[in-house]
Symmetry: D2
Subunit: 346 residues, 4 copies
């Protein structure tokens, strides 16, 4: 059994990790970290775990946790993981960081967009960006995983095949994304109250959202050239789910069939990325609770643009599920272990 | 592998059966019955099953199905199962009927409340009411299971311990129930449109809802005397979940501790019924996607009444999950097999 | 023009007062009180008021406000209004208190249920309980109105006709109420976050909710004898609306027609109470945004109980609308002035 | 009093017309047309109108209606209005058509996108596109108004100022729109059931939505050159509201201040278009129930694009409210008459 510890276990992503790991037959959770609920029963914070989890929450202590665990998940605010990382920790346990601390290779870009100093830049180059479909082999060897952001995962996987093939003009990429409210976390803020979110929709972080450089960096690798995009997230009155609608101009005329082949080629071996049949649009409800990303596209010959779409559960493939997928790869388990979840509908 | 067939696989309860059975390691689905979608790919009706189910929908043919399957689930409108039941079918396959056809022992009561003639009353006495926590041993031997209704399951389990102990006056029982909209089915009716249900709440079937005699019959067995109740269901703007709030007068003064002991005694061996800690109220979200029923109560000394509460996922413990639980018992499997689902939150 | 001031203008009830008073042709708002947003533009807190309200929020200063305003609305936490009330204030302006401070005549009951000391009990007897349909004449003469609570308004009006006629046994009254989330206020609490409320339902304050004694007191007046009830509120995933489902036993056999006549008799002159046609159930969506209360009942001959139902917008008839109705009466205006709002559907 | 008739009074747009016209002091509704509910009480179809509307629904008979009414609103399926239009009708009553029949000047474009033959193309050139902010003077003289579509109204008003000024490249315009479910109408379709829409988001009509040529035509007038765009609508789990997020490249470097001046210039005299303060994003909840369109923009210097946003209530400014605004202009009333509705929040 792999011994797993979670720092930040009482946030929504942390709680989703608990849900997935409890059902994972190769894993035992040994540490429920939560600075806000120290010594309280975990199941009193998440009553869905009543009689399933008897443990109490522990204060954050990564050094002690590294001694007890084989793998540490940090589902913590930006800056925390970087502030406590050390060679000693990495020598004892594998670390999968769900925050953004190690996702961006250029530390100055990180510091500019996140507005905080990076406390352990020496580990950035070692960290592997944990997008399993792209970096599978590197992940297997890694000690430190930068688990991708929710928007970047869905955005990147939706448009990757066409960027990779070099048939869209990267300078024309516009990503309009929509997310359920669990992405905003469990902090008690007026803006996230039921009555403020329900029956409402708005854009936020327009032109300045922190996931922008993360998406750009990954697209740049795929394109083989620097990519600058527009990324606009929106808050949607639903608990879970991200939908991405992305736009780009084709460099030359291509048929729907040719585009489809590029998607098939990119994902034919991928269990978690489902290329939908022609005419079907991705819907967040069809992937809810699962690790799937549903993608599809529509060619608009009038404008010579392609509209690329992707749907995903932000807490699963966008956070905890992808973290488990990374863990499976790192520990030589079957990649789908504990993740063959049938989406729940309705 | 147990071969399972589903009649009515494209209703919400049928689709939930598919979700659960796909994850059940001892079962293989051999028949996706749907009169409305004959020959269409099942995954085109429920796109969440894309790449998970390749089968096409088949017309209803219980006789043929009985030859191919070990167990048949009928998630069909009232009257259907009774209209096709036969000795030949029962001799070849076990049948778990999710409709109300075999739940009520007195056929005249069934016919009065449902307004239809019962086409095979000869099987009513044989059928076992599939409330596993109550009729476990009989279920193991049964050929034909009347899978309980959603409201009756939640209502009964919420108040059973105190009725069984004879300490509440059965004539004072009032059940006020609230259900998510999946309970209304997938039929295209104006009343169930998003805009009609959202931001709205109403009672329906007041004093005439068909689940009333089912609840009364089961409570009568527990009480050892005829029980007549008030039952009022309400439609709630959410997909899943039933909450029951039940009221009854105590026959004599009892303490919270004494009442708690009765609940503990009734359910201490039951995995799927969770008696919450004092002061915690059942919430539907805490059991969503799982087979759990969370119950608790509050003693009101001012009125000498006890308020009994229960929460459950109407599609799982209230339909498909309980059907699988019955199947597990009928086939000698572990009762929790395929049902150790961690509730999904949020 | 009547000059109105609002203390607590940035809570949901306060904001609804602003919405209603802006459309009231006899009123001018002269004071937007909000301790939390002093000096901020009101429209920056409630962006719906952009270009409609140019004022900034003011600190609480009831004495100063009394000099400037003809009527003061206090939409404030329990205890505030009592703590600042004075003869000087009442001599200068009429006060309509939306908190519970002056609703309960027996100060010991108030202090027991609210857990705070009442700071100005000397004004309790003078205060008129502002349920316009019941106390219309007294309200016209009042200086200080105790604006009724949301649950009490809907509960009382739903069952009043039958209590008044003495044909139900008051000791059997059980009120099961359901409220949208705006009733919980705009405070930033985890329990009221979108993801905690959405797709969820729960009871709260079971047997101890503070509106219980308020309902009991008013029912006692109507019954002419002390009434003790069970009252259970539930939190519903919707913004607005209260639905009450109440149960009581009839003292003798009565027909639906006889019961209907009692409802008609009680409300035939009332514009804001709509007795629905037989067979129609009250639905919160049908009164949203308006000052209507829709009521109806169902006789259950099997149990000799009557199920009484009422639906209302908790922010309008349950708070701000009723406050304006009181103001209209106090200032000799037409009672419906500014309140002839057509419910918004969907 | 203006006598108004509504054809299609039992659709959501028709019902919203009823809501607005009941509160309009210069109008009397003389005809509630509904082919589906002939002879039924209107208030039995829309119970919010109980005791407010006593009329029964009438069959469609435009010729008879034209004799009785001063103005006719047709809130009917595409093709209906064109199929019954005649000189006789127009000579007797003004017609405001909420369908698309007279919005597009080029009949071949209409027929291509709508897939039906236009039955009275002779009236297309006479019809005035009823976007009041743009065509105010023409509307005053018109007999026949083509009331704009919901998406076109919000899309056009969000980007009009910059197109008009010629500072964005029209070929780069991409409009990503999100709509509440009332836009899908009250027809009983599985896709619009509560459980299918709730907790879900999807794009639809990708690259083929019928509102595309309508937006393009109006933008072309503003730009003075043909404009081809991408338009992608999404279905959102909320009742009301449209949010538009539009993208375009600037032809040259401009500052936020310069762009802001263009918005101010375009809308400084417009009551119903609110240009929000810098940094504020339009939110649908802030305009709900009102005739406002809130617009704003964000300059992204990294990509040299401007992101333009607009929020509106699809049933008010996107349908019934704009129709009333047109009526006010046509009859020489104050443009805001009956439309000074304070948005309802929450």
């Amino acid at each position: 059994m792999i011994k797993a510890g979670i720092i930040g276990a009482t946030g929504y992503a942390g709680a989703e990790l608990v849900r997935l790991l409890l059902a994972h037959k190769e894993v035992e959770i040994v540490w429920y970290g939560s600075r806000s609920y120290i010594d309280q029963k975990y199941a009193s914070v998440y009553q869905n775990m009543f009689q399933l989890v008897e443990d109490r929450c522990l204060d954050d202590n990564l050094e002690e946790l590294a001694k007890q665990a084989d793998v540490i998940f940090t589902a913590t605010p930006q800056g925390y993981c970087a502030s406590v990382m050390s060679e000693e920790i990495l020598s004892k346990a594998k670390v999968i960081d769900l925050s953004a601390d190690f996702r961006i290779k250029d530390v100055s870009v990180y510091e500019a967009w996140y507005g905080i100093e990076h406390k352990s830049p020496q580990y950035i180059s070692e960290a592997v960006y944990g997008l399993c479909e792209i970096n599978r082999e590197k992940i297997k060897e890694a000690r430190l995983i930068a688990n991708p952001g929710c928007y970047p995962t869905c955005s990147f996987l939706s448009i990757y095949p066409l960027v990779k093939e070099g048939i869209i003009d990267p300078s024309t990429i516009i990503i309009d994304a929509k997310s359920g409210t669990s992405g905003a976390g469990r902090g008690a803020k007026t803006d996230n109250l039921y009555c403020e979110v329900n029956e409402n929709i708005k854009a936020y972080g327009v032109a300045v959202h922190r996931h922008t450089p993360e998406i750009e960096e990954q697209l740049s690798y795929a394109a083989g050239e620097p990519v600058i995009i527009n990324f606009t997230p929106h808050l949607i009155p639903m608990n879970r789910g991200i939908l991405v609608t992305a736009y780009a101009s084709l460099k030359k005329k291509l048929s729907t069939e040719e585009l489809r082949e590029m998607y098939q080629k990119a994902y034919q071996e991928e269990y978690f990325v489902r290329v939908l049949e022609e005419g079907m649009v991705p819907q967040t409800k069809w992937v809810e609770g699962s690790n799937f990303v549903d993608v599809n596209f529509k060619l608009d010959e009038r404008t010579n643009r392609v509209i690329m779409m992707g749907a995903m559960d932000n807490l699963v493939k966008g956070a905890a599920g992808q973290a488990v997928q990374n863990m499976n790869l790192m520990f030589g388990l079957k990649e789908q272990e504990g993740l063959q979840l049938v989406p729940m509908f309705p």
